[in-house]
Amino acid sequence: MSWTSVPDKAAGDVFTAAMWNTYIRDNLNSGVPVLLGDTTLGATASEILFSDISQEFTNLRLVCYLRCNNASSSATINMQWNGDTGSNYDYQLIQGFGSSVGAGEGFTNDRIPFGDAPAGSAGANLFSTSFVEIPHYANTLYNKSCAIQNALKYGTSSGNMFTQMVGGFWRNGAAITSIRIFPAAGSWVSGCRVTLYGVP
């Protein structure tokens, strides 16, 4: 259901159940992107998990601000859906770093790698940005996919900054009900924030 333009009302008009259901219920529940979950870490955590995701929307959107504590300059950000730890994920990557362009692919992965986050030896206070769109996540017929953008900086030398786009694919037609985001090594640090939206 799409947005219904809210009409003007005159003095003395009665606010009816029909008005509530059309202009407030339907517009808010199925006419605008809404917040489904928001996690800001106050301490280290091995993962950020959104479960029991509402099935009422068309698409899902994630915004991520991440850093981990592994003893390295950066660590891959990983995603799994519905707790599936099997070798059921594929990905295609393109990235720019320094003056270089690279691309890569992976088949039968046990996770979708969606870019990287600064880690323990990265410059102080640096966090990565990621944006994830998961279309038609509630359908139970077709395999799921997602489109990801990621920006990583861990230093100020050539090759220390990455801009990346990733296509992620899941060999499963189940509706997505949970999303797990975890670093390849180490834990997320305090200050990380990940927000999940439902998009009508």
Partner: protein, 201 residues
């Protein structure tokens, strides 16, 4: 606060204060994407400045429809500054596709703004721009953003179209309360350029 699903109301419904507070006030203030500001330039301008940005949201998203008013004989890159900081405190890493060629570019020294791509001039179609700035209100850590830009010179010659994604970083840790878009050569943004800033809860 998350979004609260709005229930159905039946015949004879009378508005309740709790309905207003939970389903209207809280949902609209903290549950949905909202427009924080929108500007369409009616005449050429040196910059676009969005100030006094609300600190009540989780993330910011900027959508732009933009070109230059005058190329001025040079190549006017688009730049973005936060909190009116014109110091050398910005970094970028670009990934772009142009004709059959992927390219990447970065800056070896800190810049005075986050640099995206050159803007089309007044005889070309407007460029499309989106920018995501996560966790913009935190005052402990440095800020980063993702800028996506697409444009064409409007003719069917190989190499006139490009699509780019830029990672941008600001060395500041202050909460972002102001965003300024400029051209690095100082030429004006064109009348008709339009920008919308959204707050994501």
């Amino acid at each position: 606060m998350g979004y609260t699903v709005v229930p159905t109301r039946g015949g004879g419904y009378a508005p309740q204060e709790s309905d207003w507070d939970t389903y209207i006030k809280d949902n609209l203030n903290t549950g949905v994407h909202v427009v924080l500001g929108e500007t369409e330039l009616s005449s050429d301008a040196a910059s676009l400045d969005l100030s006094s940005i609300s600190q009540s949201f989780a993330h910011l998203m900027l959508v732009g429809f933009i070109r230059c008013g005058d190329i001025g004989g040079s190549t006017p890159f688009l730049g973005m500054r936060f909190n009116n900081d014109s110091g050398s405190n910005y970094w970028y890493q670009l990934l772009q596709g142009n004709a059959a060629s992927p390219q990447a570019t970065w800056n070896a020294a800190a810049q005075t703004s986050i640099r995206s791509r050159p803007l089309p001039g007044p005889n070309s179609p407007f460029a499309t721009l989106t920018c995501l700035i996560p966790h913009y209100t935190n005052s402990a850590n440095k800020k980063s953003c993702l800028i996506q830009q697409a444009q064409t010179l409007g003719v069917t010659i190989s190499g006139v179209m490009e699509s780019s994604l830029t990672g941008g970083w600001w060395d500041g840790t202050a909460a972002i309360n102001r965003i300024t878009l400029i051209t690095l050569t100082g030429v004006n943004l064109d009348a008709g350029s339009r920008f919308t800033l959204m707050g994501l809860p």
